[in-house]
């Protein structure tokens, strides 16, 4: 595909989208050239996803013009945008849980012969695509069996399965580890070399500097800056996004007195055949859990919390052996668990922000079984403002929030529960830099006050930035543990890969 570089491939002028109560996009201009990776960045709720939705024909803009390759682009629905050659990886997963990986991959265009599904061809091409994104699952696996990062990779592979002229990726890497991100970037570069235009949205600043050609910053639905990535500094970028300076990327970690043992897990097996896992958290400690996609971190945390029944092992809370057969037991013993999949396992989408926040601490906002709405709302307001939730108020339904703000609401639920031990799985998934800092600060403050925090994250800098020690998972077992003084990204990665190599590399 050859394109004239001077005229932009996509040109957006004055795009405006109003939801009742909110102006999500306010006269935004944006132009993207063929062969360019254009970064779109902004705080949670800035309007990035809304812009994507307008482009993809899901939302109809209230004003503004979009031009694609010189022709007006006014898609009547998702089908129209696809026909125009736009492929989108949406921020929220849109998969078919009961169908197989292959069927999900080819949902847009199934390989067919005479109206019949060409199952052999489908499987073959699925393997190719999965290889391209570095996902080692069988094409026949039902998607509901996969972890969230694997699902995310499927979404990416789906978009890659069809030739397109414009590829839009809305936070594709929020749950990915560096390995998958690197593979993805290779693919993106291959596409741009072929003249495909790419819009890339992410809250990971280091990614932006690595892959972006130009960038556009949105704030409160308005464009505040467009320009080349090269030459920008992190500080400038943050200031444009957040509107204020952020001194450091991570809050300072101060030495904390480590107290009694809060949680001790011994020889936990998530399934009968799985390797045993042992770990512990002390009061005042922030323990990181690192590992590659599918390395078993989430499975282990779920088993500890009682979300799934483990096949064996014992759990001690504050030195006493306890039986955790149901999340209720865990909560009673002072354990919280923020799940990685906010939509499927976290949010009650049709209920209000306040109701979502109070869900795990409903006893605190009720008396004799009666809800005290005033107390509930006050608590919700307090936490929302601490986490900078962008919403019209505690009554707004969670469904209408942006992805990052939804994430803040689930996090707020567990902060409201105020338990001794907090297990958070991908806590800053989709959260902007400003709020990320606040959340990190909050986790550290919790540790300061004598609580224990177990952070599962695919964002290695995050773990290195806030943890006291990091436990590294590899292929279902703990490959090693590193304490803060010895922190080193290389070492963590080596440990994470160790289980997947024939001769485990020692750290």
């Amino acid at each position: 595909m050859s394109t004239v570089v001077d005229t932009p491939f996509l040109d957006i002028a004055g795009l405006t989208k109003r939801y009742a109560g909110v102006t999500a996009l306010d006269g935004v201009d944006l132009s993207v050239n063929a062969g360019e990776i254009h970064i779109l960045i902004g705080e949670n709720g800035a309007g990035k996803s809304t812009l994507v939705k307008c482009l993809a024909g899901i939302e109809r803009p209230d004003a503004g013009e979009m031009t694609l390759a010189g022709a007006p682009h006014r898609p009547a629905g998702a089908a129209g945008a696809l026909r125009a050659g736009i492929q989108v990886v949406h921020q929220e997963l849109a998969l078919l849980p009961a169908l197989t990986v292959a069927e999900n991959l080819f949902l847009q265009r199934m390989p067919r012969r005479l109206g019949l599904v060409d199952r052999g061809g489908m499987r073959r091409r699925a393997r190719e695509l999965l290889g391209q994104v570095g996902l080692e699952v069988s094409p026949d696996t039902p998607v509901e069996r996969l972890g969230i990062a694997q699902m995310q990779l499927i979404e990416i592979a789906k978009a890659l399965s069809v030739d397109c002229r414009l590829l839009v990726m809305d936070e594709p890497t929020a749950t990915l580890t560096p390995r998958e991100t690197a593979t993805l970037f290779t693919q993106l570069r291959r596409l741009t070399a072929n003249g495909v235009a790419i819009i890339y949205i992410s809250h990971h600043l280091e990614e932006i500097f690595e892959i972006g050609d130009r960038l556009t910053v949105l704030r409160n639905g308005q464009r505040v800056h467009t320009g080349p990535v090269a030459g920008l500094t992190t500080a400038e970028l943050v200031r444009m996004m957040v509107g204020r300076d952020l001194n450091a990327e991570y809050p300072p970690v101060t030495a904390r007195p480590v107290g009694e043992q809060l949680l001790r897990v011994t020889d936990l097996r998530v399934t009968a055949g799985a390797p045993p896992v042992s770990l512990s958290v002390r009061s005042g400690e922030v323990v990181g859990v690192a590992g590659l996609v599918g390395s078993g971190r989430t499975e282990t945390m779920r088993a500890i919390f009682g979300a799934d029944r483990p096949a064996g092992g014992s759990v001690e809370v504050r030195g006493r052996a306890v039986r955790i057969a149901h999340p209720r037991d865990a909560v009673r013993h002072g354990i919280s668990f923020l799940t990685e999949d906010r939509k499927a396992q976290g949010l009650v989408l049709d209920l209000s922000i306040a109701a979502n926040i109070s869900l795990a601490s409903i006893d605190r906002v009720s008396r004799l079984g009666l809800l005290r709405h005033a107390v509930e709302n006050a608590a919700a307001r307090e936490l929302s403002s601490r986490l900078h939730v962008r919403a019209t108020g505690p009554h707004q339904t969670v469904r209408a929030l942006s992805g990052g703000n939804q994430q803040k609401v689930v996090l707020a639920r567990w902060l409201a529960a105020d338990t001794d031990l907090l297990i958070v799985d991908e806590p800053t998934r989709g959260i902007d830099v400003g709020a990320r800092y606040e959340i990190h600060q909050l986790l550290l403050t919790l540790a300061d006050s004598g609580k224990g925090v177990l952070v599962v994250s695919s964002d290695l800098p995050e773990l290195l930035g806030i943890c006291d020690r990091i436990v590294v998972f590899s292929k279902g077992r703990i490959a090693g543990e590193i304490a803060r003084p010895e922190f080193d990204a290389e070492r963590v990665l080596n440990l994470a890969y160790s289980g997947y190599l024939k001769n485990g590399i020692s750290a």
């Binding site: 109003r18 939801y19 009742a20 109560g21 919390f305 979300a307 149901h326 999340p327 209720r328 865990a330 909560v331 009673r332 668990f337 799940t339 499927a344 396992q345 976290g346 949010l347 009650v348 989408l349 049709d350 209920l351 109701a355 869900l359 795990a360 409903i362 006893d363 009720s366 079984g369 009666l370 809800l371 019209t392 108020g393 009554h395 639920r413």
Partner: protein
């Protein structure tokens, strides 16, 4: 969903407004229907007829209020028509020929049987994670057979005069039986909108996994909803006997569909998490007014059947239109 533009003014009142509008959704269709009948159905607006309507919708209202709980947690109860028969014949037999002293025990019996069938429905559904549709379909047969077996097909009569008297009493112009239904609806409304349990019912219906992972026993919540539904059937059985003075093992056939229809017309989602008692009440009224008005208009049986179906469809379609309209209005304002 609705009129969020008002939200700029005062989010709290706007929320109340949008809630009432949302719940009263089908209320617009109801008012339209009532106006139509006022114009074209002789006697429709008379006090006597209003009382009749209220008496006629009492049973369905009680059943539908109970069904609201079940549907809110994503379940369905097909057994209500049979269970009401079982409750009625057992409680009726207990009261038969007795004086008013025999009533409390019979009422208790009816409630217990209703609640027990609800418990079985809920427990089996929850414990083995099987669809409540099938479990309650099974119960539909079991309860019907049990009712028939219990009485050997005989109609039970000679119920205490105090009971049948209650069936015709009016309180400040309202039929006493309807007052019972209204009271139950009020309690249900309170429970669902003001208590922790009610909150958890909505939340469970919306996203059970999220509620479970927040440390709540969603299984218990769901079973309790089935039990509440069953207990309401027990009350309905007593009301049936109070109104009609008899109990027979074949009574109640098809009641389940009417009850479910009232709940769904009232805006509930069969996949759970959405719905309200006020909506249910309006749904039951709509169905009752429709039957009553068509009868008064003297429409022939067959045409009445056709029109009933058509109006049900048109009512929900109108409601859907109204919802869209109010969204558009609020978005452009």
């Amino acid at each position: 969903m609705i009129s969020i533009s008002v939200a700029r003014g005062n989010p709290r009142t706007s929320r109340a407004v949008s809630q009432v509008l949302g719940e009263a959704g089908i209320g617009v269709a109801l008012v339209a229907l009532a106006l139509f009948f006022l114009a074209f159905a002789p006697h429709f607006g008379t006090a006597q007829n209003v009382r009749d309507i209220l008496t006629q919708i009492t049973l369905n209202t009680i059943l539908a209020v109970g069904m609201t709980f079940v549907i809110l947690v994503g379940g369905i109860d097909l057994s209500v028509g049979s269970v009401i028969a079982l409750c009625a014949v057992v409680a009726g037999t207990a009261m038969k020929g007795g004086g008013s002293a025999s009533i409390p025990a019979a009422v208790l019996l009816s409630l217990l049987i209703g609640a027990a069938t609800g418990l079985v429905n809920g427990f089996v559904t929850e414990r083995w994670r099987v669809p409540s549709f099938i479990v309650t379909l099974g119960m539909l047969y079991v309860a019907r057979g049990a009712a028939e077996q219990y009485t050997g097909a005989a109609t039970i009569y000679s119920l205490p005069a105090a009971l049948t008297g209650f069936g015709t009493t009016t309180l400040v112009g309202l039929p006493a039986v309807f007052a019972v239904a209204l009271l139950m609806a009020a309690v249900a409304w309170f429970v669902l909108s003001r208590t922790v349990f009610g909150r958890l019912v909505y939340a469970t219906g919306n996203n059970e996994e999220a509620v479970r992972l927040s440390g709540h026993r969603t299984g218990v919540i769901k079973v309790v909803c089935f039990v509440i539904g069953g207990a309401c059937v027990g009350v309905a059985a007593i009301i049936y006997m109070a109104r009609l003075g008899v109990a027979s093992p074949i009574l109640g056939q098809g009641y389940e569909l009417n009850a479910i229809a009232a709940v769904v017309i009232g805006g509930a989602s069969l996949s759970g998490g959405r719905g309200s008692v006020i909506g249910t009440l309006l749904g039951a009224c709509l169905l009752g007014v429709l039957t009553n008005g068509l009868l008064l208009m003297g429409v022939s049986d067959f045409q009445r059947t056709i029109v009933t179906g058509a109006v049900i469809i048109v009512a929900v379609v109108l409601d859907a239109y109204r919802k869209r309209l109010s969204i558009r209005l609020s978005a452009t304002s």
